[in-house]
């Protein structure tokens, strides 16, 4: 316990449950996340990986339980402050959640516009991120005209463009071939090395285990089955 207090816990979940109508997607999740950690959330399909990431990224509300962000109880934080908290998180959604009638550039720039950045900074930063994700040439394309892998890269670009301290990536390599998947993982690893906390949800374990140092949280039927340290 003492040891935990010295650690920099950015998020703590206590007995969190999430219900979708009658379905219990998460059941009694208690989890601490440390600043700068790398966490792989694994588990079979329908286990609740996406649901957990969405709750961590403040994209969904928990039905029960307590969530602390930097020691503050989320339930006590006014809804007007939520947008500012969300900006700390960069989310890659499993279904990408790109705006279909806005170009790749506009989709990525939206994060910075919402944060009130100035136009020249937005231009510079968005182009830089698109370059590193290899989507520079497609900046004027609309998401529906892109392949699944390309949309995924745009989603990653959007997640990192605001320099969030936490990245939550849901199957970030799901639609990619081995080479592109590795490129995206390397990109996220680089981001992690700069000090960011990175959480990846995936059932594709062998891609990650080989060269990642961090924690593997395995969930099944909405509960944490096992937590293991990865080399």
């Amino acid at each position: 316990m003492d040891d935990k207090k010295t650690k920099n816990l950015i998020m703590r979940l206590f007995n969190v449950r999430k219900r979708y109508g009658g379905i219990l997607a998460l059941n009694d999740i208690t989890l601490d996340i440390e600043q700068g950690e790398f966490i792989l959330i694994s588990g079979p399909s329908g286990a609740g990986k996406s649901t957990l990431l969405k709750i961590l990224g403040l994209a969904e509300k928990a039905s029960e339980g307590q969530i602390l962000i930097d020691g503050m109880n989320l339930a006590r934080i006014s809804s007007s402050r939520l947008p500012f908290l969300r900006r700390r998180f960069g989310m890659v959604f499993q279904d990408f959640k790109l705006i279909p009638n806005r170009t790749v550039y506009e989709n990525v720039a939206l994060v910075l516009e919402a944060a009130g950045e100035n136009r020249s900074y937005i231009r510079k930063k968005v182009m830089q991120v698109l370059r590193t994700t290899g989507m520079e040439k497609k900046q004027k394309a609309l998401p529906p005209t892109l392949s699944g892998g390309e949309q995924q890269r745009v989603a990653v670009a959007r997640a990192v463009v605001g320099n969030p301290s936490v990245i939550l990536a849901d199957e970030p390599t799901g639609s990619l071939d081995a080479t592109s998947a590795q490129a995206i993982l390397d990109f996220l690893m680089d981001y992690h090395k700069k000090g960011a906390t990175v959480l990846i949800a995936s059932h594709n374990l062998h891609l990650l285990e080989t060269h990642v140092r961090g924690r593997n949280v395995e969930i099944c039927d909405g509960t944490i089955k096992r937590t293991a340290t990865m080399l």
Binding site: S80, P83, F84, F93, K97, I99, L110, A114, R158
Partner: protein, 291 residues
């Protein structure tokens, strides 16, 4: 800001038909309202010029003596609605008449006695409501020494009756159109919102504040209201120009008053009002959707 305006215009263009219908509805409402305003502005001027700004003459009986004046003045003032009272003695009235009839004064000199009565000229504060004017006149008439009260009874009564009828019709029609325009605008915003539901949801997820999310809708409402106002006024001025070029000469000759277009103040007010309408429609709609 310029950037956001461009975006709002792009959004309006992307939903062309719906927004066009909205803008046309707003402009129609503005047209109706401004037609009535045009009518009222001119009619008010006509009435004022005919009625000389709510003037009435009180003529006294022969028994009148200037010493009664202070008491009479207080009595009349007590009736309310009186702006000013001026005493015109019969001597003065005769002098005025002599001045007016520059020729033929010789005939007046033959008069042994001044045949004109002593009189008070009063100016009323409000004279658009004929019932008030009539009531006041009757109250004055009831004073013993008063022989007659003259205030342009016949035609003025008729004219004001029609005028007030128009006013009522105008008010109700204007409010009706205002409500229709408001409803249509609110509905357009609602439809725009639902058609961009995904976009709004994503904006929230990437950390956009409610203000940031709402701003484009408000801007769109404002632009729609503004364009509707401008379009309505353009339609009005075009019809005004076509009508007036043929009509004013005839009408002006009869009425002695030229028909004027809306004053700049009213035009600015109309544009302001229709822009507000766009904003208000948006406000109502978003308030309902976002609770």
């Amino acid at each position: 800001m310029n950037h956001f305006l461009k975006k709002a215009l792009a959004d309006i263009c992307s939903n062309r038909v719906l927004n066009l219908i909205t803008i046309i509805t707003i402009s129609l409402s503005i047209l109706v309202v401004s037609v009535f305003l045009l009518f009222f502005e001119n009619a008010s001027r006509v009435i004022e010029s005919w009625n000389q700004g709510g003037r009435a003459m009180i003529y006294f009986k022969k028994e009148f003596h200037p010493e009664m004046l202070p008491e009479l003045k207080t009595k009349i003032n007590a009736l309310g609605g009186i702006d000013r009272i001026t005493y015109i003695s019969k001597t003065q009235a005769l002098e005025d008449l002599k001045k007016k009839l520059s020729t033929g004064t010789a005939f007046l000199k033959t008069l042994k006695e001044n045949p004109l009565p002593d009189a008070l000229e009063i100016r009323m504060t409000s004279y658009h409501n004929f019932e008030d004017v009539k009531g006041l006149a009757q109250a004055i008439q009831a004073i013993d020494i008063v022989e007659a009260v003259e205030y342009g009874q016949g035609w003025l009564e008729q004219f004001l009756k029609i005028f007030n009828l128009f006013k009522m019709a105008g008010y109700s029609l204007c409010s009706l159109f205002f409500l229709i325009a408001l409803f249509i605008t609110a509905n357009t915003v609602r439809m725009a919102f639902y058609s961009r539901k995904l976009e709004v949801e994503i904006m929230r997820l990437v950390g956009a504040t409610e203000t940031f999310i709402k701003a484009p809708f408000y801007l769109e409402g404002l632009v729609q209201g503004f364009l509707g106002g401008i379009l309505g006024l353009t339609a009005l001025s075009i019809s005004y120009l076509t009508f007036s070029s043929g009509m004013t000469q005839h009408l002006a000759a009869d009425v002695f008053v030229d028909i004027r277009f809306l004053s700049v103040k009213i035009i600015v007010l109309i544009v302001f009002g229709s822009t507000f309408l766009g904003w208000f429609g948006c406000y109502l709609s978003l308030k309902q959707i976002l609770k």
